[in-house]
Each structure stands twice: as C-alpha cells, then as structure tokens.
C-alpha cells in the first residue's frame, strides 16, 4: 500500500477546466476525470467544486492526495500543492497519451502552441500563437453561436462538407459578417463550418511548419476532440506537401491535466527523498 499514491491534475483553461485523478503504483494510470465549461462563472469556485466531486466519487479525502498539481490558469486554485507551467505539462501529458510522438500541439480556447518533445516529454523547442484569436478554439465557439449550433456537434457537421467555403478574412470577429453573407447566399451549414475549420487549421499548419515540426504529431487540447478540426489540419498538411502524421487521443483534452498529475507525482517523490535524507542525517 505504501507504494501506491494518488495525484490530482487540474488544468484551468480559457474556456474549460479539466481535472484528473491518477493512481501511481507500478505504472501511472488514470482513475477518473472531469471537464467543466467555465461559462460566466468564477473559475476558482468551479475548480473547487470539481475537485470535491472527484474526491467524493472515488471515496478519497484531500489527505489521500500526495500532490495536487495545477496548470494553465490554475495558480488561483486554493488547495493546490504546487503549480506547473503549461508548456511542460502539455509536453509531458502529450507524450503519456501518445508515447511515440515528436511534437505535441495544444489547440486550446485562446491559443495554439506547438511543442517539440523528446521521448521523456522534455520540451526541446516551441512556438505559439497569442496575439490574435484567428487560430483559437474561441473562433469555433463564436461561429457556433452565430449558426445556433453546439460546440460538440460542429466537428461532425464539418465532416459532412463537400465544397467548403472559406471566409475571406481570417479574423474571428470579421468572419461573422462573412458567415451571415454565406447563409444568405444559401451555402450549406457543413460547408460554412468546414471553411472555418480550414481557416483555423491553416494557422496551426503554418505554426508547425515554422517550428519545423517532426511527425508523428499529437493533437491535444479541446479542439483536438473535434473530428472536423483533426480532418482539416490533416487535409491542409497534405495539401501543402508537409504530410504530417497526426495522432489524436480520445482523452486529448486532458493532456495538460495528465501532465500536471505526472509532474506532481515526480515532485512528490523528490521532496520525499529529500525529507528522508534530512531525517537520516
């Protein structure tokens, strides 16, 4: 029993909070997980509720958790043991979910970051978007609002497209006018949605090519859960002769939380070793 320990990873993103419980015995395994859309609520309270629910459901108490690791905007989570930078947690989580990849792309609500990693999840190089929302998940959320769709269904809708209609600009706000015009011109919803996906995918592929990314590439983050997005990125990479090989894990949205939980366990062990040394001397 002494060899088993539990860690929690909590990844507070721009739109969703992801929390994940991990058990570490011989191999680290994911026991339970939750995602919650923040909407207009206070992220701190949402995070606290999620953590309580996870513990309760698994009949654990706060004291049973060796390390509660936060990442993303999670520094505000009150009961965390420590905080880890997103770049390291996403790299580590990406490698854990997809062991053989050389690059991890985190496609989140606010920005996209492409990270080159080694087989231990160490960050070798990275590039990210940040100044503009044209390559972000927020873009998809805006479009679903204009078209009256749910974020969860746009991916499937995009897959139905036959002749995608790309918007003239790339701005997530100006695209609204484009979309309205497309609707009035009678362009089908799948073709509009696919066009937006391609517009975002274009940003992602350009980021990858500027990083000189190597395949296989793991797609993670909320947008990696969207099949239409994965397809669009794949299509564009083929079209531009980059021919990247993409992998997307069903738990792709949890990459940051997984990484945090793993780094948490790692730091716990190091701290414990130091303590033991102090006691021994």
């Amino acid at each position: 029993m002494n060899n088993v320990l539990f860690t929690l990873g909590i990844d507070v993103g721009g739109s969703y909070i992801k929390a994940l419980l991990m058990k570490h015995s011989n191999e680290p395994t994911v026991i339970d997980k939750r995602t919650e859309k923040i909407r207009k609520r206070n992220p701190v309270t949402v995070a606290e509720e999620m953590l309580s629910l996870l513990l309760e459901k698994n009949k654990l108490k706060q004291d049973d958790i060796a390390y509660l690791a936060s990442t993303g905007e999670g520094e505000m989570v009150a009961r965390k043991t420590g905080h880890f930078y997103s770049m390291t947690t996403h790299a580590r989580g990406g490698i854990f979910l997809n062991p053989d990849v050389k690059t991890v792309v985190d496609m989140g609500a606010l920005f996209v970051r492409a990270i080159k990693v080694n087989n231990l999840g160490k960050v070798l190089d990275y590039k990210m978007t940040g100044q503009c929302a044209s390559g972000s998940g927020q873009f998809i959320e805006n479009i679903t609002r204009y078209l009256g769709l749910a974020v969860e269904e746009v991916g499937e809708i995009s897959l139905q497209s036959t002749t995608p209609e790309t918007p003239s600009g790339i701005c997530a706000v100006l695209a609204e006018t484009d979309v309205i015009n497309m609707v009035s011109r009678g362009i089908s919803t799948p073709n509009i949605v696919k066009g937006i996906h391609l517009s975002i995918a274009n940003k992602v592929v350009r980021l990858l090519s500027s990083l000189k990314a190597e395949s296989p590439i793991a797609l993670t983050g909320g947008m990696a859960m969207n099949k239409g997005m994965v397809q669009a990125v794949d299509e564009l990479s083929k079209e531009s002769k980059l021919n990247y090989k993409f992998i997307s894990h069903p738990d792709a949205i949890y990459a940051g939380a997984v990484g945090a939980a793993l780094w948490g366990a790692f730091r716990y062990k190091i701290l414990k070793m130091k303590d033991e040394k102090i006691i021994a001397t």
């Binding site: 721009g14 207009k40 206070n42 606010l110 100044q131 503009c132 929302a133 972000s136 927020q138 873009f139 805006n142 600009g169 790339i170 701005c171 997530a172 706000v173 100006l174 609204e176 006018t177 309205i180 015009n181 609707v183 009035s184």
Partner: protein, 267 residues
Amino acid sequence: MNKMNSQPVFVGIDVGASMTKVAVIDADKNLVGHHVKKSGTDFTATADFCLEASLKMANVEGKDIVRTVSTGYGRKNVPFANDTVTEIGCHAKGCFHYFPIPITIIDIGGQDNKIIKLDESGRRSSFKMNRKCAAGTGAFLEEMSARLDIPLEKMDGLARQSEKMIKLGSFCTVFSATEVLENIRNGKKLPDIIKGVFFSVVNRIMEMDSLTEKVVMTGGVVAHNPYLVNMMEEMIGREILVPVYPQLSGAIGAALHAMEKEPINIT
C-alpha cells in the same frame, strides 16, 4: 405642399460591410439629401431603400438623377448605379472637397480602417488599409458594447467620464472581450474600462501609419464616438479636422465622381 423642386442631382452610394450610406448633391455640390441604414444581408434592397429616402429628403424624383456612382464593399450589388469607384478614391474625393489642402485621412469604418494621404492637389500619395482584423474598427467597439451590455451610443458618454483608464493587454477583439469581462468581475469602473477600449482603437490606428500634415477623421465610428477624435488629438498633440457628416464622406465622394463623369452644362 409636396411640390417637387425638379433639379439635376448626382447620387453617391457607399455600401459598406455594415452600413449603407447615400448622398445626393445638386449641381453646386451642395448636399441636398442623405440616408444611412444598416446594410444587412440584402445589399440591393438596402441601397434601394436608402436612395428613396435620400431623394425624398432632397425633394427630387428618380428622373432628376443625372448619374449614380456606387462604392464600398458591396458596390457591385447596386444595379441602378452607372459606375463603380473604389472606396479609396471616393473617400479621398469626399474629404478633399471639404478640406482642399494636403491631408492625412483616417477612416474608421465598421469593418476596416484606412489611412489615406493626399497632396495639395488631392492626389493620393500613400494608402494603408486593414481588412484582415477587427481590431480598431467599428466591429471591435460593437463586440465590446455587446459584451458589456451597454448600448453602442452610450459608449462615448461613458468614456468621457473616465478618470483612470484601464488599458487592454491585447488588441485582438476576442481576447479583449474576455479581458473586459474579467475587469468587470474584478469591480473595475465601467467608464475606465470603456476608455481603455477607445484607447485600443486609437493605438491600433497609430500603429498603421505615420500621421503627417493635417489629419482628418471620418467614418461611422467617428460620427458616433467623437471622443475618439479628442483622444487622438491628445495623442498626436494637434487639432484634427472632422467633416460635418463624417459617415458620408465616401458617399459624397462617389456623388462628386458621378458629377465629374457627366458634368451638366448650365447655360
């Protein structure tokens, strides 16, 4: 009572991405009729409507129109126009008509920004335009007012009440919207937030091009938010000129183009 004062007129139609503007001028280049309406989805219908309203205001009939020129994003959607001219050409002409000196025109439209420089004869010496990004445009202010749940027309008055402006961290409209909501949640004062939003617009324009010579500001955003002009004046430390109808300068320019193409001989 409703007697038409039949006289030859020239019509300029500026179909913008968000607003359609019509200007009717007489043979002496006086603005005798005008109308502004949201472009909506049916550009042609909106253009028709605005033309009707402008003619009514000018107290003339359709048959009095000598020539019509359309301009703007939707200029191809005006079937009754004789000609189309680019918006740059029209804005330049419309502004130079009011200020016949070397000028730098800043036009803040619903979805794009333009900076046009004219020499002493009204010729264009440089031109910059932003069409790819909503930052600094009317769309930016619209999105902010929607997020703040404040009517667009109240923004100007609120910004003026600010004592301590809160600057935004990003120029991006989407990110700014999130930031603005966060500021509200943190109990920041509305006027201070809105002034920061205005500052973002001013800043974005300053980044586009140098502002040499006399500066003229036009466009719907300026028409409805004159405080932006004051803020810009403060930034560049000079007085800025604004035409009487800042939103109509493209349409007036189009009407002037129409007149040039087909001058009438007054004998």
